[in-house]
Structure formats: C-alpha cells, structure tokens
Symmetry: C2
Subunit: 100 residues, 2 copies
DNA sequence: CCGTATCCGGGGCGATACTG
DNA sequence: CAGTATCGCCCCGGATACGG
C-alpha cells in the first residue's frame, strides 16, 4: 500500500482515470501547484511500481505520454469508490485538517 | 484526500473495517511495528477528520474504544476495492518500492 | 491501560535555475 | 517540451522515558 503514498500520487491517478493518455505538460497543467520535480518524481515512482506506463516518442520536440498499466487500471474501482466517498461527505465537517 | 495520508491510517482503518470496535491496546497489538505515539497521533487525526469515533469509559482501569463513524463506514467499499486491487497484483512485480 | 513529553534524524516536498 | 540538478526547510515518524 505504501505504493500510493505521496503528496500527488492519487491526484495524478485520478487524471489518468479511465484509460486516459496524457502528456507531461498536460498533467502539469491539470495539477495546479505541482512542480516539475514533484511531477516527474511521483510519475517515476508510479512507473517503477508498475502502475503507470511511460511512452517516449523519439522526436523534436520531445513527446512523452503517460497512461495506466493493466494493473493500474485495476485501481479504477477503488478510485471510483473514493470519489463516491468524498462526495458523500456530510456538511458541517469541513476542514479540521489544519490543527493536528 | 489528504485525510488518508499518513504511514498508518489505512492500516488502522482496515482493522476497524466492518463496524468493528477495538480498544487502544487491541489496535496496538494488531499493528506490529507501530509505537504508542504514532498510534494515538493517527487515531486523533482520523477522529478530528470525522472518520473515527472515540469512546472513553470513565473507570479504573481506563478503557477506550475506537470505531468508524457513519462517514467512516462509507469508506468500506473503497477499502474493499483496494484489497481486491492488491490481491490482483500480477507476479514478477514484487518490491520496486526500494529504489526511489 | 492509555496515553504525554522530548529528542532527533531522514527525507518528503517545495522553490529555483539550468539543459538537450 | 520534458526533464535534471541543487538547496534547504519542515515535519513525519521512530525511540525512549514518564504520568494518571
């Protein structure tokens, strides 16, 4: 499970949800606040763990596409369930995330 | 989603899966490697985020029980899906978790 | 039994600058 | 466009000791 730890892992996975294929710059744009360093780092870890596939197009300008592996696709039901969960959040229970 | 971040959060949630009610010492025993500090810290954060309920029995010796709130119970499908996912892990893809 | 209080090291994470 | 390379803070997490 350690595999999913990391500040941006889940966010990135959500973006690749449902067999989507995204370029580096697209992921960057869709993930406000992330730096290139963190983006590549988290992607590389996901790749090393066999969740994300990285395809390089040898050309100028460079082009790299990221997508979920089969094993990564298998995460979709879980991600789905998580979305359902956060959307079911009762009111009055906002951000207690602060004081910890 | 930050709510689920933390070295032991998911592990603890798995233990409270399905409406189970556990005492502090029970959680400690079922979670090898955790220290009392981390145990109480992660529990407190989960409590502050409305996922876990903490019930204190005013008596000697002390007794404290932890369980999932309704909003916490709603996580079960997601946890279930995660279990299914890890169990579907293909062979030959063991621990790349090391070199990151 | 159920916590609190401290100390401490490693690394996660961000900001910034540079490259093919 | 898609990355490396550095620097540094902060805080997460482990170890240990103590208290009601």
């Amino acid at each position: 499970m350690r595999v999913l730890e990391g500040r941006w892992k889940l966010v990135l996975l959500f973006h690749l949800f449902g067999g989507k294929v995204l370029r580096f710059s697209e992921l960057e744009r869709q993930t406000p606040g992330i730096s290139q360093k963190m983006l590549i780092q988290q992607l590389r870890q996901l790749e090393a763990d066999g969740i994300v596939r990285r395809v390089v197009y040898q050309q100028i300008p460079p082009k790299v596409e990221y997508s979920l592996t089969e094993w990564g696709q298998a995460l979709c039901p879980a991600l789905d369930a998580l979305v359902t969960w956060v959307e079911s959040k009762p009111a009055g229970l906002e951000n207690a995330t602060d004081d910890n």
